[in-house]
Symmetry: C2
């Protein structure tokens, strides 16, 4: 499932998570994604890790504390991953291509964590955490809108409503983890390329 | 939130739900959507309805039994709503337009139920129910692909991969309930029209 440590949200003051914490988070993430947060007990997670409930509670006070680092970190990690991959000196079309393919590569690598966090995003009762995620999401959306606006200015895109174009592109990308089959005939990158071609050329004959 | 009775999945042998059952389902749906399934207790739902827990248990044996009719019915209801609205004798472009605008109208009308069910879909441990939803979802996706294939045959669409085009369109539509603001400047129908224009014309200048 990619390197889970890359996406976790841990207080830097507490240092990096231990091997045991990473094991617990990894198993919990897989269980949450397949059975849902409320379909998994602390006992299930401990059993999957081959440890006692008491040992698990030594690392995490409750199930929420296991979920939090998984959920909070992923929007930030997605943004930082895509922003770092964008070629600074390329044109807007190439930057849009990289934005889309790298988003999909991120979903592929962190599929379980992404499923868990996109399910929980709506239902996390802790508003502070939701706000924190929304700030990273807004930054990520602004990055895409910037690429689109640059392209309109350069004359390589013709877009009446940049906000709506961004939402169309995010819809295509963000919906993908719901249907993408890693064992299917097309890789994530190939799918992103096909989406881009359709978005650029349109479905009407030219 | 639209007419909740239209989307519920009830065993026809049991007859239509009573007024009290509809009240419980309506309040539960709103609570689940805002606080998440596990953030809501049976006591919360009973209090919101102004009834005792004992009265609520008379109608529903547990929280799962409240969730089930909300979640199972919505995919079927969406499909039947859109299929009934499609003009039989119109061309593929007009049929695609109606498919998109009516999908969005359905999301607008049943926003809370849609949020609840799209969150739970992934995490419902009861596979039988998931299968049932997937059958309706497959039927719905086949309806859209049929419109696209008709359009390719008629020469009004140029689409290399109809399955991917369908997923692009469903991504745009299905992601929308996550960001759509009913009090925002554009109605759902206007947004669907803008999506359609971008999808048909593409983002590259013609």
């Amino acid at each position: 499932m990619g390197n889970l440590a890359d996406i976790l949200d841990f207080d830097p003051a507490e240092g990096p998570p231990s091997e045991r914490m990473l094991q617990i988070l990894t198993e919990a993430c897989r269980l949450f994604a397949t059975r849902g947060f409320d379909g998994v007990s602390v006992r299930d997670i401990a059993e999957e890790c081959g440890i006692s409930k008491a040992t698990l509670y030594h690392y995490f006070p409750d199930k929420d504390a296991i979920l939090r680092p998984l959920v909070l970190g992923i929007t930030r990690a997605l943004h930082l991953h895509v922003a770092a991959a964008l070629p600074q000196d390329a044109g807007p079309v190439e930057r849009l291509r990289v934005f889309m393919t790298e988003s999909v590569r991120f979903f592929e690598q962190h599929r379980w964590a992404y499923i868990v966090s996109s399910t929980v995003f709506w239902t996390d009762p802790k508003l502070r955490h939701r706000r924190q995620r929304i700030e990273w999401r807004d930054r990520h959306e602004a990055l895409l809108r910037g690429i689109l606006a640059d392209g309109v200015e350069a004359g390589v895109f013709r877009i009446a409503d940049i906000g709506m174009a961004g939402r169309l592109i995010f819809g295509a990308l963000n919906w993908m983890p719901k249907w993408f089959d890693p064992k299917g005939p097309l890789s994530g990158t190939e799918i992103a390329e096909r989406f881009l071609a359709m978005l650029l050329d349109g479905l009407s004959p030219r």
